[in-house]
Amino acid sequence: MGSGGQKAHEAIAIAPATTAGVAVEDLDASELYEMEATGALDDIDDLVAQLGPDDYDSFVEMAESLAGEDFELGDDLPDHVKDLKDTELKALTKAYLTNLSVPELQQLASDHGFEHPTLVGLSDSDQHPLVHWLDPAYPDDLVSKTKIQAKAIERYQALQAGETIAGLTAADIHAAEAGLGSQPPGAPSWELWDATPSEAASAMADVTNQASGLSALTYSDKAAGVAALVAAENKLQTANCPELGQGLDEMKASAAQLVTLHTKQATIATTSDALHEAGLLTEPEAKWLSPTEALAAARYASGANQVGDLKTIATDRAKVVAQLQTHMANGIGTAGSFTGIDTSTTAGRQQLLETINTTQEAFALTTQAHSWGASDSSAVNLATLHSKHIANYAHKDLSKDFRTWAKTQKLADLRAVAATAGLADAKTAGTRAEIQSYLAGQWDTTIDQAAIEASVKAKAAAKNGIPATATSPKPGAPKPVATTPTPAVVAASGTATTSGPGRFTGKLGTLTAKLKAHQQIVADLPARTDSASIAAHNWGEGQPWSKGSHESSLHTGPDGSQWMFKPDKSAKGARAHAEAAASDVFSRVGVPGVDVHVATIGNRAGAIQPLVHGASNLEGTPSSWSQADVDSMVRLHVAAWAVGDHDGHTSNVLRSPSGAIFAVDQGQAFKFFGRDKLDHSWQPTGNYGTPVYHQAYSAQSQGSLGSGVQVRAKAALPAIKAFEAISDTQYRKLLTPTATQGAKHGVHWVEPMRKAAQKRLGKTKVTDAEIADEFLNTAVERKNNLRTAFANFFGGLGVTDSQHLTWVK
């Protein structure tokens, strides 16, 4: 199959390459080996060493993000593969934290709620306990983390009781930790102080006086009064007076109760500003916390955890506002944001997609900002924010402006963008109104996206003449052509360029994307059916599926699903054997492909394969391919070369519904054996389209692969190793039907094999068996030479890690 561009596929039938474990295991083993062998982890360590405490939040985000990825990966992956990501993350976070100074660790720990961070890490050990306590790769509630905090508190209590540890007294610890604080710069220091009993009593009296005077203040002075009361309370709460013992604790509890009671009615809109002016809050805290939240953040009695959480909230909100301001400055959320976009070009379509995505983000951020106000309706600063930002620019108003602009664009171009945005069948169905609404629905929550999707799906089904519930392509109908990756793939590739502290984040992102891609293909494709089930199954007469030169019929398979049978009329079953053998080979070496078997139905031999719905053609633009895509293509090339298939153009490489790529149609398998070359410039005469891997290699040399994406020889290693794991005997046995049937029916490869056999045997005439044996010799030799052949091939292309294939076993 695949002999020309005029012909379309009768069906898309796909199956997993192998069990999930083998493919993923090999890939990741290679990845890990490569990282260790090449010192890549050392490089990352060097990079991490340049980072400072300010980068800590990035690590926390990364850890949280990757933990989420774990969930998405599901249970199909073996534990040791899941552990890979975990292991690498831990190596990075530990390297980062170990490089921080002790004061930096103490400050970070204090900022994140650790009590008395100066009281752990008393040994000269290389690993400070706070390195573990801060490590975001480990869960916060881990017992070993809890122990560290418990020990610090225990030691502090011992000091309070008058003991000394390492020559330090409680006063020393107060002094050492006074400078730490748990606040960002600009916030009150809450310096702990040693009080005499009379000083403590005086502080308590001040709290009482401030509290009782609060109700007498005028409205305009009330906020300042609250701030003064909080300052007085903090003074008492931070006092240390061993002489008073438990009496001081009772005093503090009483003061806290008093302040809570008096500030409850006195907290007003301007309280936040007053707390800031009194030096009890930073400006962002005063601005982005509600007055109630601000009051809690300003009180030492709230406890380090609550105060820390509130400060984090304030910081996060400030970031949201900054993002909104950037979007505002760029005109996002206004009709003008679409002006000038020309979707007739690839760049224009990409620009529209990005604008839509950014608009969606801006509205989401605005919704988020609204929720802050909901927590306290008197949040005047939030109200100010809302009036200045796009929240008042209603979703549907923008949708209206967008539609006006979209009418100036070609529908086909909008369809392409909608397809990329996730609207299945957008390329072939749906009205202009539906396409436009679907795009507007990315930000406009008043638009019913599900209804549009259902409508378009129904129209596509009707157009194809099949019930709406079935999505198999109609015989002869062209495969849908995607111009950009599916959303899942955008997400996967995007992970690699996630903002964060540089290359190591990208490294993890790449790894995550790779694991995800494998998980996707495993989830999408049905399990491979064993040959015995195929042979034993009664296929029945079936239903005609297509006629003519590409005749096929539909049958119920052993698993109850629909299978497609293609009689091999011209080669009398020889080609079906070749295609089935190629499918088996792909499966064994972990390259996803079609699950093809040989069957005889109605006295006709042919190929039979299960139908799988929802796949689409691979986008033909290398610039949009992710690293996971290109790596998959490299492995596909290895398998394709081994079976002599040179027909892997974009119509024969599909995307699964989740976005992973896989090969279909090995109808040309072994066809050019004896004539073909592992050469970037070699292509069989008459073949339509350039194989996707050669497209990727060309794009690499032209610099037109996506940002950060490259052809990596090491990606071939798992497939090569899998081939090497197949014994020669096993491989010969696997290909024997192909060899004998091919020789018997005089298929395309017979002539070069005949000549080779004649030369090898020194005879002018050879039997079919000798030709078949020559074929098997050639196949085994090719299998065993893959490593050297691809090392040379990639070396010739200038791929930088081509030597990887020769020294990584």
Binding site: A63, E64, L66, A67, D70, F71, D83, D86, V120, G121, L122, S123, D124, S125, Q127, H128, P129, V131, H132, P136, A137, Y138, P139, L142, V143, S144, T146, K147, I148, A150, K151, E154, R155, E163, T164, I165, A166, G167, L168
Partner: protein, 116 residues
Amino acid sequence: MMATTDRRLWWLTVYDPETGIATRIVGVVGIEDGDRHLSWMPLEDDAARWADAIDNVDDFADMIAVDVDAATTVADGIVLGFVAMDVPPASPDLAGAVEAAVDLALTATIENGRRT
């Protein structure tokens, strides 16, 4: 900062009554000039009971002299072992040295937890 010459520290370990194998470090004890400082690993529920057993050891140093064979059955068949440290962590005082050793144990017993 050098430790004084008569300062000695021991890891306290517990032995599984079934197998007789030391299962974990549960604390650190040190002696110096007749003083004793004992620090348990946090969250050891049986620490108080074990502490009583240690307090009942009259000549602590003599018992310790036999190193890892020094052990005492404290309760429920649990055996508390004493493993001498060749080079105690440096600290200006005994408490500091013992607590520094506890810190070492804290970082040596990190669990292999996964963030979820």
